[in-house]
Symmetry: C2
Subunit: 332 residues, 2 copies
Amino acid sequence: MKKLINDPDDVVDEMLDGMVAAYPDRVRRLSDTNVLVREDAPVGGKVGVVSGGGSGHEPTHAGYLGEGMLDGAAAGEVFTSPTADELEEMVAAVDSGEGVLLVVKNYEGDVMNFETAGEMVEMEGTEVAEVVVNDDVAVEDSLYTSGRRGVCGTILVHKAAGAKAAEGADLDEVQRVAQKVVDNVGTMGMALTSCVTPEKGEPTFDLGEDEIELGIGIHGEPGVERTDIMDADAITEELTESVLDDLDLDEGQEVVTIVNGMGGTPQMELFVVNRKLQELLGDHGLETWDAWVGDYMTSLDMAGCSITVCAVDDELQELLGAPADTPALTVR
Amino acid sequence: MKKLINDPDDVVDEMLDGMVAAYPDRVRRLSDTNVLVREDAPVGGKVGVVSGGGSGHEPTHAGYLGEGMLDGAAAGEVFTSPTADELEEMVAAVDSGEGVLLVVKNYEGDVMNFETAGEMVEMEGTEVAEVVVNDDVAVEDSLYTSGRRGVCGTILVHKAAGAKAAEGADLDEVQRVAQKVVDNVGTMGMALTSCVTPEKGEPTFDLGEDEIELGIGIHGEPGVERTDIMDADAITEELTESVLDDLDLDEGQEVVTIVNGMGGTPQMELFVVNRKLQELLGDHGLETWDAWVGDYMTSLDMAGCSITVCAVDDELQELLGAPADTPALTVR
């Protein structure tokens, strides 16, 4: 499989340099690490908000660095957790004295390394709090997790927590709104094709020309059900009903939705999915407060999508709609 | 090849409905057409700026509808020009009495249909002006054009013309800045894979596992040179040097760059390309004023990228950096 890369061993390093070269006024790289932080970090008087995880999910997480979202983003190797040492450096670099919220996707390596890093910085006097995002409704436990996986709903956590921190709220309050998103969000994904990692150079699972996978994760792990290819409306219905079953919302509830591309999916197809998604939500008596369509959390070059639904009250609407200025998401 | 679509005949219609469902406060669809306009069109006291072309290039053009960019975007069928009738309806719908700039990518069908539409609206008293974008440095004439093709540089034309119109400038001035971008921009693209159209369901050209195409267009037409796969740095150098040869810039010139994904390319790879691009520009003594990295003008699910360089003086910097609020591009 062909890729626009040089040596696979250098891909994360070169990607991070390419990000800094694109946004030199917005982000900087902590030397000798794979950590990017806001150029102006630590931002005085503000709780820091950080995240991190394996590479291959771009723009997650570094694309969300900036005003109103993240202060730090740690990149591991492809589909591999960042080390505790690098996470520690990141947290220390963004702490202005107000403490730091760690936004962790629920994967065993991420959870363990963030926990270790948190303990290390606490010994140096930095206050930390943590939320673990587990929005994937497809599986109860998975190859890499006990409990549900953290996937695209994480972006809404970044947005809400980042907006609350920008308001000057304290660490408890920032953690509270982040947890509120976690408690109200669900996601399910599907794949038309497997992704191909730079190192391996071939698909991480085999999928026939007429097959799709429902309930995929974001690390090239296969899904929970393989079926014959269906049309976009039927696929959208499968994903949406799975998420709504899990959330169990009342009629009239306002929601934010995300149709997320997995990296190799044309926008044309994402909008076809969004059309059906919004129709289904209407059938359920739900009201879409905001709809996002695009590549927010990808899995390298995988073709497919995920659907995220998050119930939003007045507070979450205000936070999700608040200004943000990051490479991947700008809200005026 | 698998796609997230329903009936291929419905894909453009359903995509447009999906866009309106995503952005109901921002865009609306003219009834019985494939034209989207700003929800608040015509915007009083402002020159209208419109574009259009075949579908399959999303977010081009409808993704750029909104404050500071486009007032109208006409979508043809996949890789097919919009009809003159629909273009006429679009221009009429966005004219507030100040006239309308037509931004046309140089393809024979687009040029002909925009010209016909322009003549039709002029008979009804709408003043129009036109720019034809021809930034592709790969070919002098092509399958679908006499003269060079219009590709990703078009987005910079949308941005500059839209910003000038938002300032309240008259039609001549809006056309002047649009033409200034056209006169200062060059683009060259490459493909790792062909795209697959919904109708045909198979690649529009065959490319071996170890081959790439340099100088591709955005309609699935093959490029000007087929070569063995190279690493990302070598590919970036081929594209960049071709563009710089064409532009022939003086040392110290400030530029805006775009590393544009063709639809199936992970962001990781685009940033790897951007790293090398910025290094090469530095070697040439050029100064990057702004760097864009992402999917701006795609070719369905094609894997590959294009590189755009545009020389920018103070005036273009002000216009390209001015506020914009569209689904695909927001500038604060």
